[in-house]
């Protein structure tokens, strides 16, 4: 399966080519759209293949696991790859509509492709150290994007982002070293096989908790989320949509992969810690959102409260709750990115996203209003939209597990989400203050709205076709948690003769 390398190789090659096209913005944009569309096609193909045939392995340089480096893609990875490509494509297309060719920074699209390469490597790697490399590639590109177009005032928010993620990366490196000292290997399948031979060993639990801290920081879980809500709103809209849709979810994916596939399933302490941290994340995230008065700030805080839901589902750690987590990721990435893009259209029309300076939009852009309302209600979790099904599954699992405090916390967070979404709706769409006008003569907003509408359609499809989407999520959770099959397939894939 050489196709497994394509999601990493395609954006890397596209980015390198784009670096040469400093002046030809049209060529750069065409290349970016083509690369993302290609990734989407490959990822969907991989998804179809893994749905029927299980995990796929590519031993790089034909050296088999556990000695060589392997790329492994199962259905969960394929879903994440497809979502990354989809959000990337939407952000790039939206960016083309938003900015005139001459005003686009020549490094923005190449850096987005490097970011995608890092994200895709994290999704498709089969060992801990390449996960580290993928994370660092992703983070370094995001540092660059964060400061590339920032003004003198906004650039200071890059410092906490950089500092906290540097600490996270270094702790991750320590965790890699300790895992190697403990198991003598870094390959996921080999670690899983050897960890099974150390039942109830305290060192495995400590390693699990260290990895939990690392990925909780990347995902923005409760005590470690300070870097997120101040830095994301300073990004240009399409880049912010990409970051908010995808980057924290790489942390969630790593948690799912590590606790589902790699580490033994009896680390109850780690799972409970995750669940309680998630409960706190949901509440604090949504309270932070209520305190904000500009759209991007509100949405950035809501990322945290939504991350809480996904981590909560991982924390319950039943097969159904893992499936619920995956379903929630699918729903959340699309909805969150499209809401950020909606916010971008509001900025285009009103010239600001401060809720005191917005208004009139329901009269001049009713379609945008409908899209925003649908996505916002989906975020809050109203039936029959996609967010409702994700939350319903998580609440069912919570009640089954008897964690009533956490279930109540999640319901309170949902209601407060609805409240702050209605705040945006009332201020930007419903209010008609006399001193504010909407720049409808600006021709950019119609194609921008069309790009958001495409995302809203996908999201509505997930909501209405929830049964099909959940079946896919369930199969992905089954594959991700099936350690025996994973170990057999990965360690059974031979490289060249005698390489094993």
């Amino acid at each position: 399966m050489n196709w497994l390398a394509a999601p990493v190789a395609l954006p890397l090659m596209a980015a390198l080519l784009m670096l040469l096209l400093r002046r030809q913005a049209t060529a750069r944009r065409t290349l970016a759209v083509l690369a993302s569309a290609g990734q989407l096609a490959v990822a969907l193909g991989l998804g179809l293949h893994t749905f029927h045939h299980g995990v796929q392995v590519l031993p790089l340089g034909n050296w088999g696991a556990p000695y060589g480096i392997v790329l492994t893609v199962d259905l969960l990875s394929a879903i994440m790859l497809a979502l990354a490509a989809f959000v990337g494509l939407a952000a790039i297309v939206y960016g083309c509509f938003e900015l005139a060719r001459r005003r686009e920074h020549p490094l923005r699209l190449p850096l987005l492709q490097f970011l995608l390469a890092g994200v895709n490597l994290s999704f498709s790697t089969g060992d801990l150290f390449n996960l580290f490399v993928g994370f660092e590639l992703m983070l370094i590109s995001s540092y660059a994007l964060l400061t590339l177009e920032a003004d003198d005032w906004e650039i200071q928010h890059a410092f906490p982002y950089l500092a906290l993620n540097l600490i996270g990366g270094t702790l991750f490196l320590c965790a890699c070293g300790l895992a190697y000292a403990l198991f003598g290997t870094l390959n996921f399948a080999d670690i899983a096989a050897r960890a099974a031979a150390l039942p109830g060993d305290g060192r495995v639990l400590v390693l699990g908790l260290l990895l939990l801290a690392v990925f909780a920081l990347k995902a923005g879980v409760f005590p470690l989320y300070y870097w997120l809500p101040h830095s994301y709103p300073t990004l240009p809209t399409p880049v912010a949509a990409f970051h908010s849709g995808l980057l924290t979810k790489v942390g969630i994916y790593a948690l799912l992969r590590l606790f589902g596939t790699v580490l033994p399933h009896d680390l109850t302490l780690a799972h409970e810690t995750l669940a309680w941290l998630a409960g706190a994340t949901m509440l604090f995230g949504v309270l932070g959102a209520i305190s904000q008065n500009y759209i991007r700030g509100i949405l950035a805080w809501h990322i945290l409260s939504q991350v809480g839901f996904m981590v909560l589902a991982i924390g319950f750690f039943t097969e159904l709750s893992l499936a619920a987590a995956i379903f929630y990721i699918i729903h959340h990435i699309v909805v969150k990115a499209s809401l950020f893009l909606c916010g971008g259209v509001v900025i285009c029309l009103n010239g600001s996203d401060n809720l005191d300076r917005t208004g009139h939009l329901w009269r001049c852009a009713p379609w945008l209003g409908l899209i925003f309302l649908a996505q916002a209600m989906s975020l809050a979790g109203l039936p029959p939209l996609s967010g409702f099904w994700g939350k319903l599954l998580i609440v069912i699992e919570g009640v089954r597990a008897g964690e009533f405090v956490l279930v109540v916390a999640s319901l309170v967070a949902s209601i407060l989400t609805l409240f702050s979404m209605l705040k945006i709706w009332l201020a930007a769409f419903w209010s008609e203050p006399a001193e504010i006008r909407a720049a409808v003569e600006d021709r950019r907003w119609r194609p921008m709205t069309a790009a958001v509408a495409a995302m809203a359609l996908v999201s509505a499809g997930i909501g209405l076709g929830a049964e099909g989407a959940f079946r896919v999520a369930r199969e992905a959770a089954r594959q991700a948690a099936d350690q025996t099959a994973y170990i057999e397939t990965v360690l059974g894939t031979r490289g060249k003769e005698g390489a094993r």
Binding site: V133, I140, D152, W153, Q156, L162, A163, I167, C174
Partner: protein
């Protein structure tokens, strides 16, 4: 030898955490430099002493050698760490130019008003 390295790693981590918690961004910077190097040293400690180990590719002499893989990891980590630290230096210099202060406390003072 492993115990010595472990103590050294502990001391380095303690010093770097102390430095990172200071207010001056220059001290924070030095704290991060120490922090990444402490992690590298930890990885080096994973190799263990060379006694009683054989090199993965035997050259005939049969002299003991340490496990080379952690050192390969360190090389990668040094490159990544160097890149990020140099980026941090430039960022902090830019912040100093923009705001005229090297105190993290002043830089992130909530009392300062938003965008002037």
């Amino acid at each position: 030898m492993v115990a010595d390295t472990a103590i050294m790693v502990g001391v380095l981590f303690a010093c770097s955490v102390f430095l990172i918690l200071q207010r001056s961004v220059v001290r924070i910077l030095f704290g991060f430099v120490l922090f990444t190097n402490a992690a590298n040293l930890l990885l080096l400690g994973v190799s263990g002493p060379p006694e009683g180990r054989l090199p993965p590719v035997v050259d005939g002499s049969g002299a003991p050698a340490v496990d080379p893989l952690p050192q390969a990891l360190i090389l990668t980590a040094i490159v990544i760490g160097f890149g990020v630290i140099s980026y941090l230096v430039v960022l902090l210099y830019r912040l100093f130019l923009d705001h005229g202060t090297t105190s993290a406390g002043e830089l992130f003072d909530p009392e300062r008003k938003e965008k002037p």
